[in-house]
Each structure stands twice: as C-alpha cells, then as structure tokens.
Amino acid sequence: MIKWMRLALRNILRNKRRSLVTLLAIAVGFAAISLFRGYTSNMYSGLKTMAIRGEGLGHLTIFKAGWLEKGKLDPEKYMFSKSEIEKISKLVTDESGVVLATPQINLSGIVSNGTVSTIFIAQGVVPRDDRTIKGDWAAFRPIKGEGLNEEKSYGVEMSQDLAGFLNLTSDKDGVVMAPTLGGQMNALDIHVSGVYDTGSDATNDKYMRLSFNFAQSLLDTEKTDRIVVLLEDTEKTGKMRKLLLAKLTSAGIACEIKTWNELSLFYSKARGMIDMMFLFIFCIVLVIVVMSTVNTMGMAVLERTREIGTLRALGLKRRGISMLFAMEGGLLGLLGSLIGAALHVCVWAVIRAIKPTYTPPGVSTPVPLTVDFVLQALVLLSICLVILSLIAAIIPAKRAARQNIVNALGHT
C-alpha cells in the first residue's frame, strides 16, 4: 500500500501547478469552513451563556403543569404555592450536580417617574441566587450604580433606554403599577438602584429587574410561576430534566420542565439561522472541492491514458487503476486539508492578536469577533474532505479503469 501511496504522491507532484491550484482550492475551502465553524462555535457558546446566565434562565425551569398553556388566563391556579416552592427547592437541590433552585416571577406593568409613564416587562429574582446564576457573566453587562440586594427590596435595575426615556438615573425614585393576581391595580414606589444595558435594542427600552419579594408584593401573592434550576454541567441538562421530572412527579407535584434552549427563543432562532448559513457555505465549498478534484483527476486520466494502458498490460487490474487514482484524489484532499489547517491556525492567531469587534444587528454594543479553535471540527472536516476528494476522484478513476487497453496504449 505504501508503495502505491508513494506512486500516487509522485503523480500528484507531476503537474505541480495544477496540483497546487487544486490544493489551494481545498485548503482555502477548508480554512473558510473551519474558521466559520470556529466563529459559530464561539457564537453558540456566547448565546448559550447569555441565555443561561444573562437571561437568568438557568439550565432548567420548572413550571406547574398547565402554566405554559393556560397560566396567563388563570395565573393563581397555575402558580406554585409557598409550600410547593419550598418542597420543590429541597427535592431539587438534594440532587448532586444541582447548584441551586430559585423562584422567579415574570411580570409586566407601567412604570412612571411621576410625570411620564410607560410599559415595562420585569423579572423578579432572588438577588443572591441571581448573582450566583450570573456568575462571571455579570462582567459583560456592567450596571451603572448598584445591583439588586436583599436589604433594599424596592430597589430595581432598569434598562438604559427605559431609564433614559423616564429621565431616571441610579438613585432616583419612581413608581411601578401592575395588576395583582386578584385583578386589582397595585402601585409601589421604586428606587432605581442601577441602570444596565440588556445588549439588545429590542429590550433596552422596557426591561426591569426586581427583587423576588418586591415582585410578589406588586402582584400581591406568595406564589411564583417558575423555579429556575442551575446545574454544574450544561451537558447534563437533558439527563437532569428526566431525573427531576420523575422525582417531582413521584413526589406528587404535577409539573413540566423546560430546558434553557427551549425557553430561549433567541438562541434557537439564531442558531437555526447560523446553522443554515454554515450549511450553505459548506455546500459551496464542497462543490468547489469536488469540482477541483474531478477536474484535476480528469486531466490526469487524460494525460496518463497511455500509462494506464501500460499498467493494465503489466497486469494491474481495473480495481487497481481505480484505487490508484482514488488514492491520488484522497491524497489531494489530505494535503489540502493539512494546508487548510495551517491556514486556519494562522488566521486564528491573527484574529486573537488584533481582537476585532463588530456590532451585530439589534445589539447595542460592539462584540468581539472571536474564533474558537475546535480541534474536533478540524479533524472531522479533514476526514470529510479526504473522503469527498476520494469520491470525486472515483468518477475519473472508474473511467480510467474502463478504458480499452489497446486504445489506451495507442493514445498520444
């Protein structure tokens, strides 16, 4: 096999310019796909962290059975009571791999500075648990002023455009109004502890974050609509969901559990769009690689027709001829992938050095353009391109093998 590989390699080097063009086509294609894959990997990772920690979704969210379907119509009925909150929290946190289980309430209403009012959407969170969920991610969304804290339950965090619209800055006061679960309008004073950037134009003019107790007071309830669970390992999300669902059901709690990616519509949609772009680019590159290899191997077959006839006359079987050309195609794919990997490393290093940034649509602040080094993707892509080049070479290789020996020997 090695001797045939050596022959295949020498044949590739026979027409250096043509082989070089093909190798470059494969290498550039490889680098384009792998860099884009590295970029999307980083983006997915960022979006995942943003959903789990930034949006405060945690890894799992437990709802009372029916909440997602009918909760808006009859919230009282589909919210967890105080005792249920305690029971669920205990059952969940008893499991190893669970960092915490914390109640949250989502609500909306009207916020006013005393003169002007506008709508708001808010998340009521337990400040200490929220800090745990945010973790290091909090550094990416700094708050001007102070964050939520247990001592000042009426303190709120207000998104920057909303604060700007109401002319409220940190340390200023306002009023929030929202309907209680009983249907009465309730109003409470707030103190703007901090102003933050949600990172999205769509939410920067309406989001607020309240402490959980304050949100309950505004809704005049001791209940909650969800319990957020943070895990140690994101990879175990699916497994933990099954386990917790079984455990809670057997404890007599009718509930449903959603994972972070099921709740983060932005993540799902963004990922769907990026996956589609990746597939599109991948297909274009694959077509280029296949066409380049088919062209190169087709030319090689044409130029070496007489040699093919000679090898057949010397006793090489049709399968042997096919294998020889397929091997050359495969080698082109392998060498192209290696050059592509080297190109990938160079571009990756340059990106890391210059740290470019860009502002995606709908995002209020520039984000760094980061490319992950995904070794697994590089290896898989190499294998994919080698196989593809091999398959692309089989078409001309089969043609070569089928040639009539006499005609091949007479070819000039």
Partner: protein
C-alpha cells in the same frame, strides 16, 4: 511444447460504418523457447496479432490458447493475472512510468503481483544487471537514452520470469546500432532462460537475428516474398514456417507454422512449407 495456439483468428475494427478486417483467419502455433519475429509492412496486422497474443485484445472470431489457457473464457481479472504472471511486454515507445526510477519501473510487475518489496528489489536488480544497467537504477526515464529506456523495459518484461515476452516494434525508436544491441540482448536472454520472445518489426536489418520469421500481409500469414523463402537467416536466408489459410486452400492442404530448430509441429500433417529449404 506449444505456448501459443491460434485457430482461425479474425479481428475486425469498426471505423464508423466501415469494417476493417485487421486479421483474416490466422492459424499459428508458437513453441516454448522460440525467438519469433512477426514481419510485415505497416498495416499488415502485426500489432493486432501481438495484442491478441498478449491478451490485451479480444479476437472477433477464433480460438486463442496461451500456456494451455483458453483466453476467451477468462474474466478480465484472470486475464490481468495471466498478463502479469505469464507475459512480459516491451513497447515501441518504452512506456516507462516517468515518476519512477529504473529500479522502481522494473519492480512494478512484481508489486502488482504483490511480491514483498525486498524480494522484488532483488529480482529487479538482477534483471537490470542482466541488461547492463546497474549504474542507472536510480535514474528516472527522462534522464536515460532511448536504448537505456528500452533495456529497462526489457528488464521489466522479464522480472516476473514470464513464459513469453512480447515486443511490439521494440527497435522502432532506436538507431540501428542500439536496435541491434536490443535484439542481441533479447536473443541472449531467450537462449539463456528459454523464454519465448515474439516481436514485431518492419526493419529487415534485424531479421538475420531471429530464429523464426512469420510474415504478415493484409491480415494474413503468407509465405510469399523474400522471407518466405524459408532460408535460415543465420546463413543469409530466412528460416520461416507459416500457415496461411487462403494459401492453404490454394494448395489444398492444411499447413501449420512451426519452428525450424528441430521443433515438431503440433498441427498440420505436412512439412511441405519447409520444402523452401528452411533447414538448410
């Protein structure tokens, strides 16, 4: 012992609507250890005949037996094995693989056969030594003269210890001195290893080196013309035995080609063609 048996072999080529009868009923037997030249003008069917004997082409009609095997009954793979193990080829244009050295070119048939590299190298070196190219084993074809390339081709043809070596106009691209040298090498190997050599040529100057001459014309083996006088070439006359079906019909008897050096014809009941003095 008969190595090649051809019975009523016909070969037609289709050029558009025109049918070219390249071979028109060839009966020929060649014996182990013979040194045979197929002689005739261009277009007489020499190459076609060699292609059929070499099992790289199929006859339109007739039976061909090589080393006791009916070639027609073989699959493509078996034919490849037959070519690899039984037949060696020397081509007019040398047909060496340009990216391989002389040694690697000679090793090629053994590698196709699956011989271990060490053994293949030893055999190839021996054959290159036989053709006097020990100093050129690492040279690529482009760095060698035509004569040297043809000697590499001969070494390659012999490396698998074949029963038969076929050479299609092996001297056509060589000057006359080199051509004589190539024929001498082939003749020496033929005598030393009793390998059957069949080569085609239209170079009359080489015919005095052959043991047996088969003359082709218009796709038939004929006994007419100078070579068919059948005189021993080593003594200035040609030593030929042929069978030509049309001629046979004319003579009213079946004739068989056979070698002249004491060989016994396998077919044919007469030595009539040798009345031309073949055994002088």
């Amino acid at each position: 012992m008969s190595l090649i048996e051809m019975q009523n072999i016909k070969k037609d080529y289709h050029l558009g609507e025109t049918v070219v009868h390249a071979l028109q009923g060839i009966d020929l037997e060649i014996y182990t250890g013979e040194f045979v030249a197929i002689w005739g003008p261009s277009g007489s069917g020499k190459t076609t005949l060699l292609n059929l004997i070499g099992a790289i082409d199929e006859p339109t009609e007739g039976n061909l037996v090589i080393a006791g095997t009916d070639v027609h009954s073989l699959s493509d793979n078996r034919k490849s094995e037959l070519r690899n193990e039984t037949i060696g080829y020397v081509f007019q244009g040398f047909n060496l693989v340009p990216v391989l050295s002389a040694l690697e070119n000679v090793m090629l048939p053994l590698q196709i056969k699956g011989t271990p590299s060490k053994e293949a190298k030893e055999k190839a070196l021996y054959r290159l030594q036989e053709v006097g190219l020990t100093e050129f084993i690492h040279h690529r074809p482009a760095k060698m003269s035509g004569g040297q390339q043809q000697r590499v081709a001969i070494a390659r043809a012999l490396v698998n210890d074949p029963s038969l070596v076929i050479a299609d106009e092996p001297t056509a691209n060589l000057d006359s001195e080199t051509a004589r040298m190539i024929i001498s090498i082939m003749r020496d190997l033929n005598e030393k290893d009793t390998i059957t050599f069949i080569f085609s040529t239209h170079d009359q100057r080489l015919l005095d080196r052959v043991k047996r001459l088969v003359r082709l014309e218009d796709g038939r083996i004929i006994d007419g013309g100078n070579p068919l006088t059948g005189t021993d070439v080593s003594h200035g006359t040609h030593n030929v035995s042929v069978l030509n079906s049309s001629h046979s019909e004319r003579e009213g008897e079946v004739l068989t080609a056979w070698p002249v050096e004491g060989a016994t014809p396998l077919r044919g009941q007469t030595q009539a063609p040798l009345t031309n003095g073949g055994q002088s």
